[in-house]
C-alpha cells in the first residue's frame, strides 16, 4: 500500500477541471520566451522593411480612417486632432484583434507539435500575447512620437498623470483577448465552421468599440450596454490620459477589469480541460 505514495504523476481518463500547474508553467518559461523570439525573428525574415512594418500598419490604417471617417463622413473626434484620435484606437483594437485571432487558432496552428510532444499548452497562447505585446510597445513609441510632433506644432493638447496607467490598460486588453481566445480555441479546433463566423463577428465588433468615433456619440439609451464592453473604457481612458478632454471613467474601468479577469479565468479553466481531449478530434 505504501508503495503508491511515491508516484509523482498520474495519467487518468478524466483529469479534473482545475489543474493549472503553475510550477510546470514556470519550468517552461524558457520555452515561452523562445517562442516569442521565434515569432519575432520569423515574422520579419525575408521582408525588406522588416520591423518597420510594425510602424507602417497603424500609420496606414490611421490615414485611411482619417480620409474616410473624418474627411468624408465627417464624424467628430471630440476636438482631438483626428490622427491622434484614430491612432490609439487603432493600436489598441489591432492589439486586441491580433491577440484574439492568434490565440483562437492555438490548436489548429500547432497540432503538428501538440501531436508529438507534451508541454503545458498554455505556453503557446501566452507566447502569442507576449509577441503582440512586443509589437504594441513599439507602436506606442510611435504614438508618443506623433503626439510630441503635434504638441510642438502648437496644438492644444494636455496629458495627465493617468498616462502612468497605460501599461495597466494594455494588460487588461491582453487579459480580455487571451480569455476570449482561450474559450474560442477550445471550440474552433473541433467545429471549424466557427472560424468563418468568428472572423465576421470580430470585424463587426470593431464598430462596437470607439475606434473610429468617440464614445460621446452614443445615444443615452445604449450607453450602458456600450460601456459594458471591456474595450470601451480602455480606449476612452487612454485618450483621456493624453488629451484630458474627459475624466477617467473609473466605474466602467472597474467593471472592465473584473469582467476581463473573469473571462480570462473561464478561458484558462476551459482550455486546460480541453487541451488534451482536443488532440483526438483535430
Amino acid at each position: 500500500m505504501n508503495k503508491n505514495a511515491g508516484w509523482q504523476w498520474e495519467i487518468t481518463a478524466n483529469p479534473g477541471w482545475f489543474r493549472v500547474n503553475l510550477k510546470e508553467l514556470i519550468h517552461y518559461k524558457d520555452l515561452l520566451l523562445r517562442f516569442v523570439r521565434r515569432d519575432i525573428i520569423a515574422s520579419y525574415q525575408q521582408t525588406i522593411l522588416g520591423p518597420v512594418w510594425v510602424f507602417l500598419q497603424p500609420l496606414f490604417t490611421t490615414f485611411v480612417y482619417f480620409i474616410i471617417f473624418s474627411r468624408v463622413a465627417k464624424i467628430p473626434t471630440d476636438n482631438i486632432p483626428p490622427v491622434l484620435f484614430y491612432l490609439p484606437g487603432t493600436i489598441i483594437w489591432t492589439y486586441y484583434s491580433d491577440c484574439l485571432t492568434a490565440t483562437m487558432y492555438t490548436f489548429v496552428q500547432n497540432a503538428y507539435i501538440f501531436n508529438k510532444v507534451y508541454f503545458p499548452r498554455l505556453i503557446v497562447p501566452l507566447s502569442y500575447i507576449l509577441f503582440h505585446s512586443f509589437r504594441i510597445s513599439i507602436q506606442l513609441i510611435l504614438f508618443i512620437a506623433v503626439y510630441l510632433f503635434f504638441a510642438m506644432g502648437g496644438k492644444n493638447i494636455h496629458p495627465n498623470a493617468a498616462m502612468l496607467l497605460i501599461p495597466v490598460f494594455i494588460f487588461i486588453t491582453a487579459a480580455f483577448a487571451l480569455g476570449c481566445g482561450l474559450i474560442i480555441s477550445a471550440y474552433t479546433a473541433k467545429y471549424r465552421d466557427l472560424e468563418n463566423i468568428l472572423q465576421f463577428l470580430l470585424r463587426l465588433f470593431m464598430f462596437a468599440v470607439p475606434v473610429v468615433y468617440p464614445a460621446s456619440l452614443i445615444p443615452q439609451k445604449y450607453k450602458l450596454l456600450f460601456w459594458l464592453n471591456p474595450l470601451t473604457p480602455l480606449i476612452e481612458s487612454f485618450r483621456s490620459a493624453f488629451f484630458s478632454h474627459r475624466p477617467l471613467p473609473f466605474f466602467y474601468l472597474g467593471i472592465s477589469i473584473v469582467s476581463s479577469f473573469l473571462i480570462l479565468m473561464l478561458g484558462i479553466v476551459l482550455f486546460n480541460r480541453k487541451e488534451i481531449q482536443i488532440m483526438d478530434v483535430i
Binding site: 503508491n4 504523476w9 498520474e10 481518463a13 521565434r38 507539435i113 501538440f114 508529438k116 507534451y118 488532440m279
Partner: protein, 416 residues
Amino acid sequence: MGNTLIKAENISKYYRLGVLGSGTLKEDVKNWWYGKSPETISTTPQSKDHIWALKNIHFEISQGEVVGFIGKNGAGKSTLLKIISRITLPTTGRILGKGRIASLLEVGTGFHIELTGRENIYLNGHIMGMKKKEIDRKFDEIVDFSGVERFLDTPVKRYSSGMYVRLAFAVAAHLDPEILIIDEVLAVGDSEFQKKCLGKMKSVSGEEGKTILFVSHNMQALRNLCDRALILERGEIIASGAPESVIAQYLKSGKEQFLGNDYSSQGSLPGNEFIRVQKVALLPEFLDQHQFIDIRTPLKIRFEFWYDVAEPGDLIAGIHLFSYAGDFIFDLPSKRYTLEKGLVRGECLIPGNFLNDGSYYISIVFVRNTIIRLFYLESCLSFDVEDYRENGSWFGKWAGVVRPDFPVVLTPQHNK
C-alpha cells in the same frame, strides 16, 4: 530492479472513426440531447464507426529497464506511447509514474525552417523540456554530435535533409530525463549516423541507467538493446518477455508467408495439357527451436508435377528467385532431362548464409528443348529471411542482395 517507475492499469483507448468536422456538431448535439456520453458508448462492441485502439493494457516498468514494443502498423504501439507521453488521454484506466519523461515521437519537433541551426537547437530543446542553462551547458556537445558546426548560423531551410535530421537527433540525444520514450526514430539518417545514435542509446541505457521505452521494426536493434519486449496486436499485449523469444514469436506469427501449396486438395491443378503442378513447398531446415527463417537457414524447395508430353524431347525446370522489390536475383535451371509421362518431383537446396535478409518470392518455369516455354508457375512461394548477427554494434540494414559467408583473409606480408 523492483523499483517500479511506470505502472499502467487497465488502459484502453477508443477512437471515433469517419469524417470528423461538419457532422460532429450535429452529432454532438444529438448525443447531448439523448444524454449520451463517451462512457456509455464504450460498452458497445467494436463497430464500423469506432475502434478500440487499445484494450485493457496492463504493464509495469522498472527503473533502468529497456522495453521494446513490437507490433504491426495499427496495433496500438504509437497510441500507447502517446498516452504515456500525455499527448492524448486514455478512455479508461490510469498510469502512475515517477520521474521526468522525454518523448521522442519525432525528431526535430517544432523546428522552424526560417531560423538558424543555433536558434533551433534552443527551440527544440525547450520544447523537449530542457531549460536554457541546461542547453547552454550541452551546446558544444550537441553541435559536435550533429556535425553541422559550419552551418550553425544558416537557416535550417537551407540544410540537406540529412543535416536537418542529424541536428534534430543531436538535441534529442542530449535530453536528460529519467524515462525516455522513442518511436521509430532509429530509421533516420545515413548509416554512419544511425550507428552513432544507437551507440548513444546503448550508453544512455547501460551506463546512465535510464529507463527507455521504444517502438521499432528493427529486430536487430530490439534484440541488442532491450531487456524485455512486448508484442501488441489489435490493441492488446499478447506476449511479453525476453526479447529473443518474443521476437521469434512475433516473426513466426506476423508474416504473411506462403510456404507451400498442395493443389491436389483444391481440386484443380495449375498448368496446361503438358504440365500440371500438384504441389510446391518450401522446407526450411531450422537450426534452433525458434523456427523462423533467418539468413543462416538452408531452404529446400520441393515441387511435384504431372508431365504429359508424348513426343520425344527434353525438359528443363527452372527456379526464378525475385526480391519483393522485383529484382531478379537468380535463374537456376535444372539439367536437361528426358522424362516419361507421369509424376515428377523436383528439389533444390538454397544453402544457408547465401541470401541477405529481406522478402522473396519464387516462380517456377518449365521449358521444352531449351526454348519452348511449356508453363510458368508465377510467384508460387514467398518467404522472408530475417537478419541474424552474433553481436556487434551495427544494427542497420546490411547492404547487398546476397550475403555469402566466404572468408576474407588478411595475411601480414613481411619484407624479407
